[in-house]
């Protein structure tokens, strides 16, 4: 005969379990969780674990590449699914327009400690309200192997379409900085770019493709440069070479005479997050000097911390790799990504795709 467990017994077991659970110390209770949509540098345990331990929280990180991908993920999610968003600084207004970012209290963020050039209030704030804060920045410029190319040649952006290094150049596969950088190389300011400038830029992009060996994402560009597959990465910067500076001192980067593009990434809290306080705490940690130093030297890629006080937590070797001392000069000689309306954005993507198909 089969014995069945009665409903009463099951209920008693459930109550006993619940009672036992209430006796467990708070520290051993189920952790709180935070869901963050981030770039790959935030997935470094060295960055996230100190926050998790200090706050007894599990940070669930989902990595994405490109704002379009982030928007796709957000559109497919339910409100409240995500708590923190890392996004290209120039795309913050787009996120504000989508009404997905919540306001953050300015007095609880170290905005005064940020390098003034990268604070970017015009994109991260609206109507005096702070929606995001710049957390990291760097340059889209030229990276190279100084043992294989003439460093003097790298001081001129036109090397990107010069025959001298034909078949030895990788192009960074991101249309926005590459269109901007090409514009800079032919004397256009990124802030003034219009669709009328695109034919000239397109012509130069096509010339670049002819002399290039490959068009690669971050990892593939870094691999190609590190393994000698290519000697130059057009569109690369400290984010390609700084992290390898200890093992590969032959890799270097420069900002040519025409200038470079400056990228910046921002962090914000989702408006519909049900954990506003915890999410803000995470943002505060990321933009704190300690968090900034860890983010700057994240295993995925290194780049400059937005908080100037992070320097106190970086070693001399790390500062040298990031060119800490040259920042005033570099900041002056760099321009922001082009900020495009939807039509201009689509047109830039079209010429980039056309270039890939050449």
């Amino acid at each position: 005969m089969t014995k069945t467990v009665s409903g009463g017994f099951a209920r008693r077991m459930l109550l006993a379990t619940a009672a036992a659970a209430t006796l467990v110390p708070a520290g051993a209770m189920a952790q709180d969780e935070l869901n963050a949509l981030v770039w790959c540098d935030h997935t470094d345990p060295a960055l996230v674990e100190p926050f998790e331990k200090a706050n007894n929280v599990k940070v669930n990180l989902k990595e994405y590449e490109g704002t379009g991908a982030a928007i796709s993920i957000i559109e497919q999610s339910r409100p409240g699914d995500w708590d923190v968003l890392v996004i290209d600084a120039v795309d913050v207004p787009r996120a504000i327009d989508m009404d997905i970012l919540g306001e953050m209290p300015a007095d609880k963020l170290p905005l005064g400690d940020l390098f003034p050039e990268v604070r970017m209030d015009e994109t991260t704030t609206r109507d005096g309200k702070v929606y995001a804060v710049t957390e990291k920045f760097g340059y889209n410029t030229i990276s190279y192997d100084k043992t294989k190319v003439d460093p003097a040649d790298m001081e001129d952006l036109t090397v990107m379409w010069s025959d001298k290094y034909k078949g030895r150049i990788a192009l960074y596969d991101y249309y926005l900085p590459m269109v901007g950088l090409t514009g800079v190389a032919i004397g256009k300011k990124t802030a003034d770019l219009t669709q009328d400038d695109l034919p000239a830029i397109k012509e130069k992009l096509f010339e670049m493709k002819k002399v290039s060996r490959q068009v690669s994402d971050v990892v593939a560009s870094q691999t190609a440069l590190a393994t000698g597959e290519v000697d130059i990465v057009a569109g690369g910067g400290e984010w390609l070479t700084a992290g390898l500076s200890a093992e590969k001192p032959n890799l270097d980067w420069t900002i040519p005479k025409q200038g470079a593009l400056r990228w910046a990434q921002s962090i914000g809290v989702f408006k519909n997050s049900e954990k506003q306080d915890l999410a803000l705490k995470f943002v505060q940690y990321i933009v704190s000097p300690e968090g900034q130093a860890r983010l700057a030297t994240s295993s995925c890629y290194w780049a400059m911390p937005a908080n100037a006080k992070a320097g106190e937590h970086l070693t001399d070797q790390q500062k040298t790799a990031l060119r800490w001392d040259k920042q005033p000069e570099y900041l002056k000689n760099s321009q922001l990504y082009p900020v495009a309306d939807a039509d201009m954005d689509a047109a830039m993507q079209d010429i980039w795709t056309e270039m890939l198909q050449q």
Binding site: G68, S72, V215, S216, T227, E229, D350, T353, L356, Q357
Partner: protein
């Protein structure tokens, strides 16, 4: 119970068995598919997706050269890979089925499917280490003096085709082998009795009888190859885009779901046409 009542009861039972499968298919294939068809007629205007019915996305596919070229490149690569894979897989399958002793055949098959145990992405990156300028192949050829300059084996179509062929030869080998071992030796004996030599026996008897295995494998190769974007991305150096890469660009960079849906339907139409051609050729519709 009358015969008609029995038939009705059988029919009900058949429906009862089929219903979960049909519901599953409806829920996870037909409904999403219908939604995708609908989206493909919408447009992305500015930052918004607008649900107005239009053929704009399909028109753009034919008007914008970089979209259409994606399909052409996909078809060229897929055709090359399929043909090379069949030419390599058939002798391999034949050797395993006919020349390898029975007790070693299982081992040979395990060796053939061994690459499937590794991640597809890892395999592609491994091929990059083999084929790149500083890779094993070039270093070996340079060191023994056969070549003076590294061969261009990666970051181009050659690299993509090599990566794909490595993957699909094994798949085809399995389908052809399965066909070959089912072939009764009596056919060959009969051909020999009628005076056919080894080549004539192969050409007029063995090959036609193993065509279904070849076609099934070739179709699988076609479908998997034309829908893949990882190998072209890694081994092709992003130097020419296949259609799935173009679709990924629409999704990942533009969040242009309508255009991506339209391109996906074009891809699906091509695969369907390939299936129809394959089925008609094998006269599968008569069975």
């Amino acid at each position: 119970m009358t015969a008609t009542a029995l038939e009705r009861a059988e029919r009900r039972k058949a429906w009862a068995f089929a219903l979960p499968g049909l519901l599953w298919t409806a829920l996870f294939f037909l409904v999403p598919f219908a939604y995708m068809v609908a989206i493909s007629f919408w447009t992305r205007q500015g930052r918004e997706i607008v649900a107005t019915w239009t053929l704009d996305n399909y028109v753009a596919f034919f008007q914008k050269a970089h979209f259409f070229k994606g399909l052409v490149v996909s078809l060229e690569i897929t055709a090359t890979v399929t043909v090379i894979s069949v030419l390599l897989a058939y002798p391999l399958a034949w050797i395993i089925a006919e020349r390898v002793p029975k007790k070693w055949q299982r081992f040979a098959l395990v060796m053939a499917i061994l690459p499937f145990w590794t991640s597809y992405v890892v395999r592609s990156y491994s091929w990059l280490l083999v084929l790149s300028k500083g890779g094993v192949v070039n270093q070996t050829l340079l060191s023994i003096g056969i070549i003076a300059e590294p061969l261009e084996l990666s970051a181009n179509r050659t690299g993509t085709v090599i990566g794909f062929v490595h993957f699909f030869v094994m798949l085809l080998t399995l389908t052809i082998y399965a066909n070959l071992i089912q072939l009764s030796p009596n056919y060959r004996r009969a051909a020999a009795d009628l005076g056919a030599n080894a080549f004539q026996t192969f050409w007029h008897v063995v090959l036609p009888l193993t065509l279904p295995g070849i076609m099934v494998g070739a179709f699988l190769t076609f479908v998997l190859c034309i829908g893949d974007y990882i190998t072209p991305q890694i081994l092709g150096g992003n130097n020419e885009l296949v259609l799935p890469q173009v679709i990924m660009l629409q999704l990942g960079r533009r969040a242009d779901f309508p255009m991506a849906a339209a391109l996906s339907l074009v891809l699906m139409a091509v695969v369907t046409l390939a299936y129809i051609a394959c089925a008609r050729w094998l006269k599968m519709e008569r069975t």
